[in-house]
């Protein structure tokens, strides 16, 4: 059985929904990102408490014509990519606000 994964928005970001897509800016280095619809849905649900597979099941599979397996694979790749840019935190445990602050202080 696969381990649960959790995602949380980094605190050093500014974001705003515009025209159905999320604009995200890293306040560390002012890098700007525009998320598509799927990425926006994951971003909005990334509260650190909801497992990624639940986000995919409830937010992606219900809204988009995609199988759970494909959606999960795409979501895994996406969150890794956003984590690589430093705007999302990914963990195999629920992410508490304190943990986000600790992550940011590294």
């Amino acid at each position: 059985m696969m381990e649960k994964r959790y995602v949380a928005r980094d605190t050093y970001v500014a974001s705003r929904l515009m025209g159905g897509e999320m604009m995200v800016m890293s306040t560390r280095d002012s890098t700007l990102f525009t998320l598509n619809g799927v990425a926006t849905a994951i971003w909005e649900a990334a509260d650190g408490k909801t497992p990624l597979d639940e986000i995919v099941a409830n937010r992606i599979c219900k809204e988009y014509d995609v199988t759970p397996e494909v959606a999960m694979k795409d979501a895994e790749a996406l969150v890794e990519q956003l984590a690589g840019h430093g705007i999302l935190i990914v963990s195999d445990q629920a992410i508490l606000p304190k943990a986000i602050s600790r992550e940011n202080s590294k």
């Binding site: 500014a14 897509e21 604009m23 800016m25 002012s30």
Partner: protein
Amino acid sequence: MPDTLAAATCSQVVIEIGGLPIRLSVDDPAFIELLNRRYAGFVSNSSQPRFEFRIDLAPPGLIAKDQDVSVRWNSGKWYFDRGDFHAEWDPSAGRGKVRQTANPYSIDCVLRIVHTLLLAKEGGFLLHAASAVRSGRAFLFSGVSGAGKTTIASLAPPDVSLLTDEISYVVKDSGGYFAFGTPFAGELARVGENLRAPIADVFLLTQGNDNKIESLEEKTAACALLRNILFFAEDPGLVNAVFESACEFVKRVPVRRLTFRPDAKVWELIQ
């Protein structure tokens, strides 16, 4: 007479940009004269400047050039550094000091940084854009270097007042967004007129074979605006404020794409 003695040893000038008077003082009347010429039109007789900077002139060649600008906040003060200057500014005390050589570019950069920091807290910003006033309304023409800011400014007809060909000053107040003239000149090397007007339009410049204006989605406009906003500080709170300012701005002011041929006819579209 202490006051007379002070006047004899320390010269000063007040530069007022965007309605914000800043006093610069230095023990060198020749440098003050240089600043008076450089900022002609923006020299104020205000006796109550909001901030004051003391300039300490270093010998020529003492300070290394070709370093990126750095803007840091530490223990209640801002520290600005570039190869050609070092500045410290305590906003709560209203005072700062600058060490630089006797050139107008270093203090020009310091003033730009100060204004970006103050505007960021109030919903405004400095934008890489030419700006002009026509029929009482301001039009901004934004783009990176080479996009045509100086070209469109130089093509302006006589009824147009040029605010700047390089850095536009955008202020938010209860009545909306206003553009102010600035002395921050680009290739025209011409100081803008010291006027203020409500902003009617922002045009993102592209040079092409014909003249046309196209609407943009809000997010496209916000992204473009953010890329052209002048900001130096690596401060998450202020970066967040600038982000929010750009998002608010595009909700209230039309930001469109202007494709233009480099001839005066383009101004027929700017009404």
